[in-house]
Structures are given as structure tokens and as C-alpha cells.
Symmetry: C2
Subunit: 150 residues, 2 copies
DNA sequence: TATTGTTATACTCTATAACTATA
DNA sequence: TATAGTTATAGAGTATAACAATA
């Protein structure tokens, strides 16, 4: 069997996974970044600034992103109670339905991708990847469990 | 230690890796897709149509992509000898220098990311991911070893 | 007629800079 | 003055449809 080096294997698997998310998002006329936005909103109502930090984007980019998500009926801006300059972004029922559907489809894609693996192999890569992610999050001062799609 | 499930771990690692490629590309005012383009051209001179298939884009998107890469001096269009409708896209010396530099930086990022792992863990995930990628490529009729960044 | 590539058009996504309302 | 968010502007990236040149 031919073998990839570790770098190539990780690069290729990441392109594959991004592509899966994009395809699932496209089923709802959405994009990868829209899916990430909805994913964050599943369990939070962040401000625009907080979203910018979580997504690694400028606040003006997030403002437009939220505009387009709102136009599709997936999110709404809720005025902040404590600071009249600020808004909180919340998922609508339609938005929750979309993100749930994308997440379910994506889980199915991963299920199929990993079908050739034994339970032991699966546990092994989950364990190793988790350790890598935790170490990376610690080094960069990020809370791994409050980020990305989930 | 907290644990992610397999789907979350794979999703997060893929976002992390894409981000690494993007940051390295940005060191040369490039993007992820420009880097993928240059990566493909490292060992081939494809037509626009072939590039469209390899990148999963419409040929008109590739036409613009190549325009912008050419404007930066990274690629050039070479008239085909056999079909006067067709062009082949080739890397320039400047383009090769950019893609080599991005690849080297990315390899360094992965090195650092995997620093916490033992040699055994490293071999294990490389082996498992390679098997997954080969199975996926076979099922989708793709030649794994003629694709993506490399 | 069919194929290769480009162009016109429209939209999403992104950053920078300037602006407003509020703090 | 400083901060939260929006808007104006510019550019990359993408797809669809129409087109010219060639097969």
C-alpha cells in the first residue's frame, strides 16, 4: 500500500472535510462560513465583536455576514439590555433547523468516511487528535470547547 | 481530560489546518485557493478544464483564478501545441518559489502541531488517515496521488 | 455540432477607513 | 475620548449564461 507522509495526510483530510461541510451547507443554499456562524449560535447569543473574535474576522465582515443570514431568516439581531450600542445575535427556529440538518448530514459523511476503520482505530485517532487540539488550544490561550462548528 | 467525539475532532482539526495554510499563503499576499492552484502546478501543466476538475470549480472560475495568479507573476498560459483552442497553465520561477515557501512553512506548522505526540502516535494517525483517504479515493474514482496541495 | 476558454453579470465574502450612536 | 456597530468602497472568489474560436 502506498503511504502519504503525515503532512500530506492531514492536508488532504482537511480539504476533504471542508468540502463535506460545504456540500451539506449548499443543500440549504448556505456556505461554510454561514454554517460556522450558525454553529456558534447554537448555544450562545454573542455580540458582533464576540463573533468577530470567534470567527477570526473583522467586525465589518461579521456585520455583513449577519445581514445575509438575517435576510435568509436564519438569525436576528436582539438589542442589548445593558449597552445600547451593542446587539446580540440569536438563531431563529429556521436557523436552528438548518444548522441541525447540516450537522446531521456532516456526521453522516464522517460516519461513512470512517466506515473502513475498526473501533480501535477510531478510538485511537479520536484520542490522538483530541490531545493535539487540547495542546494547541492551551498554547494559544483558546477555549477549545467554546469554538467552531460543534 | 475532556474528550471530543470523532466528528468534532475531525472538524476542528480541519479548520485549524485550513487556517494554517491561509496564514502561510497570506505571507505572500496569497490565498488558500491560489496555494492549491500553485500546488497542483508543481508537477503538472494542466489545461483550464483539467484544473477545473482538480479544484472542483467551474472553468470560468478557474479562468479568473489563473488571470489573478498570472497578474502576480506566479503562472503563465502556454498555448497548446495540439489543440489551438486550449492552453496549458505553467508555474513561473516566482510561482515555484512562493509555493515552495508556503509548503515549507506549512510543514513547520504541522511539525509544531504534532510535537506533543510520540513517534508511535504519529505513525498511527498517519497510517489510519492514509487508509481512510485511500478508501475514499477508491470509492470516488479519484487518484489520491494526483491531487490537492502535495 | 461539440468543445475550449473567455467575458459579462451577479452575488458572497473579506478588509480598511470613515461614520453614528452610545459609553 | 473610547467603544460597538454600520456603511462605503474595493477586491477576491464563485457560478450561470452567452460568446468566439477551433475541432
Amino acid at each position: 500500500m502506498p503511504e502519504l507522509n503525515t503532512t500530506d495526510a492531514l492536508a488532504q483530510i482537511s480539504f476533504l472535510i471542508q468540502d463535506m461541510v460545504e456540500r451539506r451547507a449548499a443543500e440549504h443554499e448556505g456556505s461554510l462560513i454561514q454554517t460556522r456562524l450558525l454553529g456558534i449560535l447554537r448555544d450562545r447569543k454573542p455580540t458582533i465583536n464576540e463573533l468577530a473574535a470567534l470567527l477570526g474576522l473583522d467586525k465589518s465582515s461579521v456585520s455583513g455576514l449577519v445581514d445575509r443570514a438575517a435576510k435568509r431568516g436564519w438569525v436576528r439581531r436582539v438589542p442589548s439590555m445593558v449597552d445600547r450600542r451593542s446587539v446580540r445575535v440569536a438563531l431563529t427556529d429556521a436557523g436552528r433547523s438548518v444548522v441541525d440538518s447540516v450537522a446531521a448530514g456532516f456526521a453522516q459523511d464522517i460516519e461513512q468516511l470512517l466506515a473502513p476503520l475498526s473501533d480501535g482505530d477510531r478510538d485511537a485517532i479520536t484520542d490522538v487528535l483530541t490531545r493535539v487540539l487540547i495542546a494547541h488550544a492551551r498554547e494559544h490561550g483558546v477555549d477549545l470547547f467554546a469554538n467552531l462548528v460543534r
